[in-house]
Symmetry: C2
Subunit: 352 residues, 2 copies
Amino acid sequence: MARPKNDDFLRALLREPTTRTPLWLMRQAGRYLPEYCETRKRAGNFLALCKSPSMACEVTLQPLARYDLDAAILFSDILTVPDAMGLGLYFAEGEGPKFERPLREEWAINDLTAPDPYDHLRYVMDAVVEIRRALDNSVPLIGFSGSPFTLACYMVEGGGSDDFRTVKTMLYSRPDLLHKILTVTADAVTSYLNAQIESGAQAVQIFDTWGGALSHAAYEEFSLAYMQRVIAGLKKTHDGERIPCIVFTKGGGQWLEKIADIGCDAIGLDWSTDIGLARQRVGDKVALQGNFDPIALFASPEAVAKEATRIMDCYGPGNTGHVFNLGHGINQHTPPDNVRVLVDTVHAYKRK
Amino acid sequence: MARPKNDDFLRALLREPTTRTPLWLMRQAGRYLPEYCETRKRAGNFLALCKSPSMACEVTLQPLARYDLDAAILFSDILTVPDAMGLGLYFAEGEGPKFERPLREEWAINDLTAPDPYDHLRYVMDAVVEIRRALDNSVPLIGFSGSPFTLACYMVEGGGSDDFRTVKTMLYSRPDLLHKILTVTADAVTSYLNAQIESGAQAVQIFDTWGGALSHAAYEEFSLAYMQRVIAGLKKTHDGERIPCIVFTKGGGQWLEKIADIGCDAIGLDWSTDIGLARQRVGDKVALQGNFDPIALFASPEAVAKEATRIMDCYGPGNTGHVFNLGHGINQHTPPDNVRVLVDTVHAYKRK
């Protein structure tokens, strides 16, 4: 298997020269697209959509049909992993994800085991294979997982949380229990990402959505250390090609030097970080991905173009090491026409 | 008027030696205290409590009766200022603050004026006078205001927001309108804080709760610049005593050097920042306040003491320039007994 025809995204992650700055958008296949809403309606619900390889493939390709994006990302949900661990994922309408059996009792934590990704998460691997076939080597496919800490937040809280009171109480009062959960979850994430790579994912991203809710010290001990453990266990090549790994900690701008040290190829930045200063801080160690404020997509087309240009200017000269992206997932109410303005502005930009 | 008998808090802000590390807690007069809930019930509602100088005085003193705190903070709400500007503040039960007349139309923005604090906000000044009398110079009284940007968020959104879509759309598409709001609001905040100082506040804190929701560039232009404008207009002394000013930007850990440059005496840190690294970054320029994770107060008493000690160790040797505090307001469900553990641990700590 050769590199895809458009390999700018992979080249940027490996800090090789590119023809233009590649971009993709976190949650690019999502509710802001009417065609996505149609498919989801047909699926019946969100989880059924995730679990159908053919419909997951369909929605993965939708944003690529509309926009000149440089990568596809597997359509799935980070909570499929704890679901496969037996916690019973469900989505209460308008309420976000929930688990039937939150992980709080010591006996349940001791019983936790990493699922075989080819068994309980077979539908994800089938989707990866189907998407790769459909992409026909046009652009690379990104696989992904939640970080062990982010998954543990949902597993212990039993759903989303404003303040992470349950998982943080465990962190401070019974760190041994949280470390047990994180160890098993890190093993689960490692084998899950490796199965995606074996099935055809050409890069992987670890979404550490909630690591930024921790103190610096707790972040290192409970989130960063387990992402390092995952990365140490990842297949670095497949079919003779390097498989780059991106780490995205939302709210992690203070910890870039630490993140750059755990073996990843790129760091995803949220919009609060100055990408030019970030580049100075990490040097040539890793590539940077980001970091357009997703809410700026609600502004006028002129303002969207201006803000995209500002970020490109801020990254600075030299056509290596930058993957343009949002600083967080695209908002469901985003006007699709503004996404086109963003994509076109980034691709038309001439680096000094 | 002399300095209060316990002036450790003021000394720490001015980087003078103290007998022990002083502490107070953001939102220390609040719903986690049963006696507060009693008074609030008696007041009828939250806004009535804010607008009654005698009841505001009563709840201000409640945490000082329970705990050995080194400062009192005026009980009030940051939204009294836009309320005085005519936006019509109200609290829908269980829904948080709302404005009857959100600020979105160009004509309304052009009509916006800064209120006379001795007129529309007289009840706040009366509360300051009454609290100072009741404190009898035992500990200092802190006055406060929301930052211009944080107030503008509520004024434009019409209440709280998850994503600040309305105010950010204005920021990107019509920055001129937002600058107009911020200019008037900065003038309002300046005269409001000066009136508190003239009435007896011995230090002031600017709460920039939402500045951290901005990109680095937007933070400098729309939040930091207006806090600088406020500080430039503040009375630096009153009755012969220096009036120190604290700036707290939640999520501002990446911008400490910039914040230290706007003329404040101290920076409030949320819990995500390593306070030892923060001290290295700002040097002797400003004092630091923080930064215990408020959710760690839900842990066991032993874990509370351990985490408080970790932060004191992290700040490092030397008994100057540190005011212990939480990294954000205390959670309403906090067990009051754990607050005592925190206070006692900090006061018993011996700096190397």
